[in-house]
């Protein structure tokens, strides 16, 4: 302990020293005394990473024949996608039985909802699909759903297999872990271009990128679940004479059911979030429509599509979460087959009944252009009228004029002013004081790589958006969390809100941002900020609620007042959990800032989005890695701090 303490102070002093050095460098720069090479890396020193990567990719692609392999796979995948496309929206491909009448699908969804979670979920699931049909978005929604029905099972199968493998073999586990953490911080746009190059533009590439993006959490949850199986259940299995395969099939996987299903939930949600974004590489569906509508500033229609996406997301999330907690029920001996399989029978009856009905009543099969209830135009006028109200106008104008001009832009310029060398040192000092030596070394290496990439200014602008948004998000989110944690009722409400907001595909966060602030920096910050506020608020509540009641009672008996309790007992103990929330907020922000490129930014996201149009794989990866490296630096530093703090507080 003593050794540890002295270590801390040594690290602390070193961090202060490094920060001071960085400050001196900045001052020197301000007085024009810093050599130019330390201000920005000389262009000629930037290694041609993009060219090297391109060469490597070309080698793998052509010489090693990966392209042949992937193009072969494309064939199979295309067949699957075509089949599901046929079933869901009647694309003219094998098996030529679709499309399913919308009423039949909505009915079946309602039955599934009822089975998993009673009437409320039945209404939610059925209602979502009825809404989709009624507002005339059935076909585009089904385009999205048809990709999901291929991508989700694929990601599940690959994820669970790799998860089992990593659990069985220590070596695979150690090899996979760093890859997974890089994969989880790589911006989604980086997945898109290789997918396009290897799997053709359109649904196949979209499905591949989506699948790959959704695999990591499945792997992690599978390994976690298998590791958590109680040893006595394992021993009971062995003593029952299970072979290895029987152990896996009958003992481990069923006993890890909860974690595996949580993994499934995450796969579904990630797939949905991603499949919407694949609009950027020409995947038809809800995402593409939203992109088009936002591009032409049709806010009413955008809002309607946004609502559909959100409804689909909430439905899928609630259904799969209900499945997680759904426990098998026992039937008394002699219960009839029909009673035992009630849901299944009901679903079949509803499906067949409505499908037959749709043959005669056309409106049940398809709701035409003229028949739908879309109120896009009206909404549009209303939104524009709302934005025209003087007060709203004043507020948004103030935010744009004052906040943007006086706060955000100066902050950005300040960050850009700091010499590269000083910037890296600041980050290293931060990592050293918070995370420790190891994290400091990573920070130094990672940020130096970013400097070497030649995209320094754009990286700093990216970082600026992230920091500004997370800062504002914590000013808003943390007090909200503290307030909500004060009462059971409000914690529940706000947590439910966070839960729901977290299921929204990131793309829809752009809608209110653009609506309120148009195409400005503020809109970018705003969309990141609402996205990042969710984990901040959530973990603040969870951290505060998890403080052991004995400690609060002890503080009460020591005569601590409300604020004293908060400052001296509750907040310090909640800090490690809040740090995880903070970390997630930063990760979310890095994710969102890239997507916000759609609004028009000058950062890495913009460049990344531009590469999608070409075949510039090397540049695409360099940009992607810049984002990932910055994100990883924060991720490792903050998580290491939270871990250390938890240990010290004995919270594990």
């Amino acid at each position: 302990m003593i050794k540890k303490l002295s270590n801390l102070t040594i690290d602390g002093r070193a961090a202060a020293g490094i920060a001071f050095g960085a400050l001196m460098l900045s001052v020197l720069h301000a007085t024009d005394n810093l050599p130019a090479g330390l201000v920005r890396l000389d262009e000629s020193l930037v290694p041609p990473f993009a060219l090297w990567l391109d060469a490597a990719f070309n080698y793998i692609k052509d010489d090693l024949g990966l392209l042949v392999l992937t193009r072969t796979l494309t064939g199979g995948l295309e067949a699957l996608l075509d089949a599901s496309a046929n079933i869901f929206y009647g694309k003219r491909r094998w098996p030529n039985i679709g499309p399913i009448p919308w009423a039949a699908l909505a009915g079946v969804m309602a039955v599934i909802g009822y089975y998993l979670g009673g009437w409320r979920l039945a209404v939610l699931a059925g209602g979502t699909f009825v809404w989709t049909a009624l507002v005339g978005q059935w076909k585009i929604a089904m385009q999205t759903v048809s990709v999901l029905t291929v991508a989700v099972p694929l990601a599940f199968i690959i994820g669970i297999s790799l998860g089992i493998w990593a659990w069985k073999s220590k070596r695979v586990d150690t090899a996979l872990r760093p890859i997974l953490s890089v994969l989880q911080t790589l911006p989604f746009f980086t997945y898109l271009l290789p997918a396009v190059i290897f799997f053709k533009v359109g649904p196949t590439a979209g499905a591949v990128a989506t699948t790959i993006y959704a695999i990591p959490p499945m792997i992690l949850m599978t390994t976690l679940g298998l590791k958590k199986v109680p040893p006595e259940i394992v021993e009971a299995g062995k003593m029952s004479g299970c072979t290895r395969w029987q152990m896996l099939r009958h003992v481990f996987i069923p006993a890890a059911r909860t974690e595996i299903l949580v993994g499934v939930n995450q796969v579904i949600m990630l797939c949905l979030a991603m499949v919407v974004l694949t609009a950027f590489i020409g995947m038809p569906g809800l995402g593409a429509k939203l992109l088009a509508m936002m591009g032409s500033f049709k806010l009413g229609r955008s809002l309607e599509i946004g609502i559909t996406i959100v409804l689909v997301a909430v439905t899928l999330d609630r259904l799969s979460k209900a499945w997680v907690i759904k426990q098998p029920e026992h039937f008394e001996r002699g219960t009839s087959w029909f009673k035992r399989h009630q849901t299944f029978c009901m679903a079949v009856v509803v499906f067949v009944g409505l499908s037959i009905a749709a043959q005669f009543i056309e409106i049940l099969a398809e709701i035409g252009r003229k028949q739908n209830f879309s109120q896009g135009k009206l909404l549009d006028t209303n939104i524009k009228a709302f934005l025209d109200i003087q007060i709203v106008k004043d507020v948004t104008f103030f935010l744009r004029a004052f906040f943007n001009v006086k706060v955000l832009i100066p902050f950005r310029d300040f960050l850009l002013f700091i010499p590269t060398s000083a910037f890296i040192l600041f980050v290293v000092a931060f990592a050293l004081s918070i995370g420790g030596r190891r994290q400091a070394v990573y920070a130094a290496v990672f940020f130096s790589l970013v400097a070497l990439s030649g995209w320094w200014d754009r990286s700093v602008i990216t970082l600026y958006s992230v920091l500004a948004a997370v800062f504002i998000a914590s000013i808003l989110g943390v007090p909200l969390g503290i307030f909500a944690a004060g009462s059971e009722k409000w914690s529940r409400r706000v947590l439910l809100g966070c839960d729901t907001a977290q299921t929204f595909p990131s793309f829809v966060y752009l809608i209110p941002a653009i609506m309120l602030f148009g195409i400005t920096d503020i809109a970018v910050i705003f969309s990141i900020l609402i996205f990042a506020m969710v984990p901040l608020t959530r973990y603040t509540i969870e951290g505060l609620r998890a403080v052991p009641p004995e400690l609060i009672e002890a503080a009460d008996m020591s005569g601590a007042g409300r604020l004293q309790k908060l400052r001296n007992v509750r907040l310090p103990l909640a800090m490690p959990t809040m740090a995880i929330g903070f970390n997630q907020a930063i990760m979310f922000a890095f994710f969102m800032v890239i997507i916000a490129a759609f609004i028009g930014t000058q950062d890495l996201g913009q460049e990344l989005q531009r590469t999608l149009a070409g075949t510039d794989l090397g540049k695409n990866f360099v940009l992607g890695f810049c984002v990932a490296l910055m994100a990883l630096t924060f991720d490792m530093t903050l998580l290491s701090w939270a871990r250390a703090k938890k240990k010290v507080l004995g919270l594990d």
Partner: protein, 337 residues
């Protein structure tokens, strides 16, 4: 004893650590548990030699961390031992191939766990039938057999419930039923009643004795509760730091503790409830008059002993007088607590 042991272990060691075989080979024989620990290894089982004879209940006793659970897991090879020999019915199990080991477990062994180890996704009946299913028994047959065992443990009517719908005592009945489904010869019970309330525990002990009356298995029973041990045991093995301190019949452990540790362990026990007349019988003087039953505890004999005026009271077993018990010896034990 003349019977061939069912389980026989000789100089069994189980050491946990980075490289146990190599460490044990190079370790001086005089190393104590603490010496081993300061080298970064844990002696789970330390040089244990022990036989279990057919039909007996051997209770392994000790505090937590004493190695009792480890030892029983060595018997079933859930742990592979570091050195020594363990024979089950004459067959050295440390050398069995995986296939044969699985066969051995499928045919001969049953085990009950402290926290039940039930599969949460299977009903009572499916849990009980699980070992039968694993060995590929036909569905109809295994359901029939599982029902039989479910009835035996008194869970009839609950066979379609899931474990979470049962109380702790009922869950352990399922665990017991599952371990008995394959009709094992050897029955391991690892603190089966420790997780239960005292009242239920008592009831389950009675249930256990009832079952053993019917089944007559060879049993290795683990507990940290000395009262439970003397209630159930034919013999008790007391463990400390991985080693067996003493292995003997309960009354002999109480009367002649082999080590200070055992003495301390048995100090608070009401000896009169453990010691039976037979243990005090000496062949040198048989005394005269009506003999007392050697199987009775001194506590049970207390009223008679107080009234009896003989100095030496004959003790009989199976209708034959086996020796005489000094009344003063008996009274001393009776009054010692």
């Amino acid at each position: 004893m003349t019977k061939i042991p069912v389980i026989s272990c000789k100089n069994v060691w189980k050491i946990f650590g980075p490289n146990p075989e190599k460490y044990l080979a190079g370790m001086p024989a005089t190393h104590s548990y603490d010496d081993i620990r300061s080298d970064g290894y844990i002696a789970g089982v330390k040089d244990v030699t022990l036989d279990v004879v057919p039909g007996e209940i051997l209770v392994i006793m000790g505090l937590s961390g004493s190695g009792k659970s480890t030892l029983v897991r060595c018997f079933s090879r859930l742990h592979t031992i570091t050195s020594g020999v363990i024979e089950i019915e004459g067959q050295d199990i440390t050398r069995l191939a995986e296939k044969d080991l699985i066969a051995l477990r499928r045919e001969k062994m049953g085990m009950v766990f402290q926290s039940f180890g039930l599969l949460p996704h299977r009903t009572v009946l499916e849990n009980v039938a699980f070992p039968l299913e694993m060995r590929g028994q036909d569905k109809h047959e295994r359901i029939e057999r599982a029902m039989e065992v479910v009835k035996l443990v008194g869970l009839e009517g609950r066979e379609d419930y899931f474990p979470r719908e049962l109380s702790g005592g009922q869950q352990q009945r399922v665990g017991i039923a599952r371990s008995l489904a394959i009709e094992p010869d050897i029955w391991f019970l690892d603190e089966p009643f420790s997780a239960l309330d005292p009242l239920i525990r008592r009831e389950m002990q009675d249930e256990f004795l009832r079952l053993q009356e019917i089944l007559g298995k060879t049993i290795v029973f683990i507990t940290h509760d000395f009262d439970e041990a003397i209630r159930l045991a034919d013999r008790i093995a007391i463990m400390k730091d991985g080693a067996v301190e003493q292995c003997d019949a309960p009354d002999r452990i109480v009367l002649n503790p082999a080590t200070d540790y055992v003495r301390k362990f048995t100090e608070d026990i009401d000896k009169a409830r453990v010691v039976k007349a037979a243990a005090l019988a000496r062949k040198t003087a048989t005394g005269s008059g009506t003999p007392v039953d050697g199987k009775q505890t001194l506590r049970a004999l207390a009223p008679a002993l107080v009234r009896d005026t003989r100095d030496i009271i004959p003790v009989q077993a199976k209708g034959k007088v086996i020796g005489g018990m000094k009344r003063t010896d008996a009274l001393e034990i009776l009054l010692s607590n």
